[in-house]
Amino acid sequence: MASQLIREWAGIQQFPAATQSKLLELLGKLKQENVCTLTILVMGKGGVGKSSTVNSIIGERAVAVSAFQSETPRPVMVSRSRAGFTLNIIDTPGLVEGGYVNDQALDLIKKFLLNKTIDVLLYVDRLDAYRVDNLDKQIVKAITESFGKEIWRRGIVVLSHAQLSPPDGLTYDEFTSRRSEALLKIVRMGARIRKQEIQAAAIPVVLVENSGRCNKNESDEKILPSGTAWIPNLVQTITDVVLSGSKGILVDQKLIEGPNPNNRGKVLIPFILAFQYFFVVKRIQKWIKYDIANESSPSWA
């Protein structure tokens, strides 16, 4: 994985000129802040469009996608460099299998991420799913437990399949805001972000539409029903998050396994032993002596 060839970001050429200039501007901004590499982790349930989103950002078909089945059995990192700037996007397998959080997949991801720094987490879900349930919470929880609560400071909720017609009686904006609000609530619950912290760590929501039938504006940029060009918008948000001042998450052995509980308190063992001898064993011995003294002897004795 480390030896993976870092290719030139050729896909950027595919973008319309407006998008290109916008992206380059953002990359320049990052470089100004001495950020030369950017690692983006994409996670979410299966089939929500993680891989497609990766492909959309890169601007080429970097990872295989299929409409009907999971094409990502293990995490894949796509690295592209452009003018001294490296963009790593890690695509991951879906976290859900059989109605449960797939611990195995999570383990794979964790192992894959060993010794890497995650700058941004894209938590992908579909905009056109109407409800949130406990499973969403479980996923968020699993992510939080794996990488720590801090990762949500670098988290962005991405809602795919954004080009839709909202159900009756709702405007597009109303629908997206309600959907994202519901999802954010779940994320906050799953990540155990307290009320006071919500303001400080507001998780941005970005809408994307990976479909080739996506509407385009006059400069050929892919746009959402609301009219925003979403690729620059996404990269803009990523840049904002990266530059928001929080630190990237370095995934090391300790983070993956958690603190080794076997080592905790080891230093105290001699003291514990002494305590046990003097305060427990001695105490029980005293009780036994008391028992012997109070033993009712038979009448003949």
Binding site: R264, K266, I269, L273, V280, I284, D291, A301
Partner: protein
């Protein structure tokens, strides 16, 4: 004859005017002293094939089992004790009644008085009706006299067998007959419808006359028309002047004072002199005697009897004798006997008791044929088991004898134990306690085999599926006569392929570590063991399909020292070195637990099974266990308190240098909720059981040493480990036991909690197998013999189930 007898009686009573001898038998209690015997074919308990490894699991139940075994032993011996008690009861009864007989032979001046006592005892035990019936079949002779005339005893024919139709007692003083319930009645061995010769009747009269109870006694026969005779015994009860003091003295080991023949030609002065010297002698006797064990309360009771009565009559003395002997026998002094009343006609009644002082204690070994032989067991080994009350100079007590019996039996060295009090011929009134022991064979080896037929292909057993299995064991007991032993056993279910499940054990036990004379009771035990157990850590939670099991094999060495403080409280400490191997179903070493994926596949990346993550751990650690147990049985129900604290202290020796402190504290209280009278057959009290168990570990904790929650000895209503496996756990339980008939019903509530420490076990097996980490249950149950049948509701899923379990939860 009667006329001769009558003066004789008068003589005995009048001459020994001051001394009544209700039973002059010289306390030769040979027949009446019960002997205690215990026979045990094999008092050892079969050692378990799978020795539990030292580092017990959270609920390894090693100690529980141990204590249960102990209880069993206690119970069995108690049962034996009960049997003995019943026996001794019978005997003491017999002795009371046998006194008359004893007296009779004593009176006849013969030396062998004891035998007579015994005979009458047996004749009493075997119902008199039977004897009468037997005699009825014999011929009896008609009196051959006119009907309805009164014939004196000496007028009866010496050649005839008379059938006695009925017996009447006539109190001459009161001028009335006395009923059969009168205490005199039992002194007579004649029975209605019995057939007696004149000689027998004369003997009977003599017996009565010399008993000292009567001033005058006569026996007349009244002829009946059908040829039988009715016997009338008319008597004049002896009485003395009233007394207001009572004294009881122990005259055991003192020579019986024999009255000097009084010359009938003595002058008045000589007579006075004689009486005075007799009085002086008696006073000296009292002074020399030792105080007796009779408690003041009984003495006061007797004094009360004396005061109420006014004049001291023979009947009263008999009553006093009975009361005193009753107290002695009730308190286990089976050899105690009232031998004399002295100082009559003064203000004081002196009751002379031979209490049964032990003059000697003999330990005897017998060979298989019962011959006395030299034993292998060293004397101090037996001696230290004997209660102090059985030593020389103490009064023999049957309870102490039973205690000795139990203690010696617990040595498990003897096949037959007898504790036998026997009268000391050289020392009148003394008792020699004989302990007869038959030793078990020192060396024994045993091979037991079994064939098991395993269902083969298609469920049908084939020739290849018949497996020879069994146990080979040997034991060398009582090395050097100091109860040291070596025992070993090998068990397998398939000798052809023993590596599958070979269980072995080799153990050396060395008691009396501080010397056999030292009262400190420490035992060294060294053993070499192996075991195989299913790990409850790798168990699924509710709703999780079968989790592939992990077997934990342990093999190692263990040496520990156990110090017994009391029968139940002890302190054990020692060193354990073991190798732990974790295997999967197919006996392959597995370093990680397996789990079933939602897709149905099995992945082997579950929690690590061992510390080294190779599947094989080696470690050495110190283990200490202190148990305080003051529980006792109140009418068959356990009451008291039990506290157990156990620490396993890792030494940093072994794979990955394991250094840990694994500790658990168990507190169980059996609270008796109602005071009840104790005794055989009385109802046991209701009991509230409160139980708490804390287990914790600091440092390296391999999964096989994690504490698991759930199971019949943890939280009932769940499977073993169904609640979770954690680093620290807390279990709380309460159970209410209500006695019903011979058994009890109970209701319980239990809770187990991992205190949030499941995640502190490497790999978090609790979560991987989708367990809650905490859970409660409640239920009701009934005890049916050894089996508990209970309905328990598991609170996590809210469903209930019926369980049958062996043994006790606490």
């Amino acid at each position: 004859m009667a006329s001769i007898a009558a003066p004789g009686l008068a003589l005995s009573v009048h001459r020994s005017h001051r001394r009544l001898t209700p039973a002059t038998a010289t306390t030769t209690t040979a027949a009446s002293v019960p002997s205690l015997t215990i026979k045990s074919k094999h008092p050892t308990f079969p050692s378990s094939q799978n020795p539990k490894p030292s580092s017990s699991r959270p609920r390894d139940n090693f100690d529980i089992l141990g204590s249960k075994k102990l209880q069993n032993i206690v119970k069995t011996t108690a049962a034996i004790g009960c049997g003995l008690y019943a026996l001794s009861n019978g005997v003491s009864n017999a002795k009371l009644s046998g006194n008359g007989g004893g007296g009779s032979s004593g009176g006849s001046g013969g030396g062998g008085g004891g035998g007579g006592g015994g005979d009458s005892f047996w004749s009493k035990i075997f119902s008199p009706a039977a004897i009468a019936g037997e005699e009825e079949s014999q011929e009896w002779d008609s009196h051959g006299l006119p009907a309805n005339i009164v014939v004196q005893l000496n007028k009866l024919s010496g050649f005839k067998k008379y059938k006695v139709s009925d017996i009447m007692f006539l109190d001459r003083r009161r001028g009335s007959t006395v009923g059969t319930e009168d205490s005199f009645f039992e002194m007579v061995s004649l029975r209605p419808n019995g057939v007696y010769t004149k000689a027998q009747l004369t003997k009977e009269l003599e017996t009565l006359a010399t008993s000292g109870m009567f001033e005058k006694v006569d026996l007349d026969a009244k002829t009946n028309p059908n040829g039988t005779v009715g016997v009338t015994i008319s008597f004049l009860e002896s009485t003395w002047q009233s007394a207001d003091r009572f004294r009881c003295i122990n005259v055991g080991l003192m020579p019986q004072s024999k009255p000097i023949e009084m010359d009938p030609d003595m002058t008045e002065k000589e007579k006075l002199e004689y009486y005075r010297s007799q009085e002086k002698d008696y006073r000296r006797r009292i002074e020399r005697s030792r105080p007796c064990l009779l408690p003041p309360s009984v003495q006061r009771e007797i004094l009360q009897m004396l005061r109420e009565q006014g004049a001291v009559s023979a009947r009263l003395l008999q009553k006093i004798r009975d009361r005193v002997q009753q107290w002695y026998h009730e308190n286990g002094y089976a050899c105690a006997q009232v031998v004399n009343f002295g100082n009559l006609n003064t203000k004081e009644v002196v009751c002379e008791v031979v209490e049964g002082d032990i003059t000697q204690m003999v330990v005897q070994f017998q060979d298989k044929l019962g011959n006395v032989c030299e034993g292998n067991t060293q004397y101090p080994v037996v001696r230290r088991e004997l209660p102090r009350q059985l030593r020389q100079g103490q009064v023999f007590n049957i309870e102490a004898g039973k205690q000795a019996l139990r203690n010696i039996n617990s040595l498990a060295l003897f096949s037959n134990i007898e504790v036998n009090p026997r009268p000391d011929e050289k020392n009148e009134g003394g008792i020699i306690v004989e302990i007869k022991l038959k030793e078990l064979e020192q060396k024994s080896a045993e091979v037991s085999t079994e064939w098991s037929i395993v269902p083969g292909r298609g469920g049908r057993p084939t020739l290849a599926s018949i497996q020879p299995g069994g146990t080979v064991s040997f034991e060398h007991r009582n090395l050097k006569g100091l109860n040291r032993s070596i025992l070993g056993s090998v068990t397998t279910s398939n000798f052809l392929n023993p590596q599958d499940d070979l269980a072995f054990k080799l153990e050396y036990v060395h008691p009396y570590l501080d010397g056999v004379y030292n009262s400190r009771n420490r035992t060294l035990k060294a053993s070499c063991f192996n075991s195989r157990k299913l790990s409850p850590v790798f168990t699924g939670g509710p709703g999780v399909d079968e989790v592939p099991p992990i077997w934990v094999d342990r093999a190692g060495l263990k040496a520990n020292i156990t110090e017994n403080f009391t029968r139940q409280s002890k302190f054990t400490y020692g060193l354990v070195m073991e190798e732990i191997t974790t295997r999967d179903e197919s006996s392959h070493i597995s370093s990680r637990g397996q789990r079933v994926l939602p897709s149905g596949g099995i992945s082997a990346d579950g929690p690590p099974t061992t510390l080294s993550e190779t599947g094989i751990d080696r470690m050495a650690f110190l283990q200490a266990n202190i148990t305080r147990d003051n529980t006792k049985f109140v009418n068959g129900t356990i009451v008291g308190e039990r506290n157990v604290f156990q620490v396993d202290q890792g030494l940093g020796i072994g794979s990955k240098f394991p250094f840990f402190n694994r500790h658990q504290l168990t507190m169980t209280r059996f609270v008796q909720l109602k005071q009840v009278e104790e005794g055989v057959g009385k109802a046991p009290p209701p009991v509230l059981v409160l139980h708490g168990h804390y287990g914790g570990c600091v440092g390296d904790l391999p999964s096989y040493d994690a504490f698991t929650l759930g199971g019949p000895y943890s939280v009932r209503g769940y499977n073993m480990g169904e609640i979770g496996a954690a680093r620290n756990i807390l279990e709380l339980a309460a159970e209410m036991r209500i006695p019903v008939r011979n058994t009890h019903v109970y209701a319980f509530a239990e809770h187990g909690n991992d205190l949030g420490s499941s995640k502190d076990v490497k790999g978090n097996p609790t979560e991987v197998y989708r367990r809650m980490g905490h859970g409660s249950s409640y239920g009701v149950g009934v005890k049916l013999g050894l089996v508990r049948a209970e309905y328990a509701v598991d609170h996590n899923s809210g469903t209930g189930a019926i369980f049958f379990r062996f043994g006790e939860r606490f």
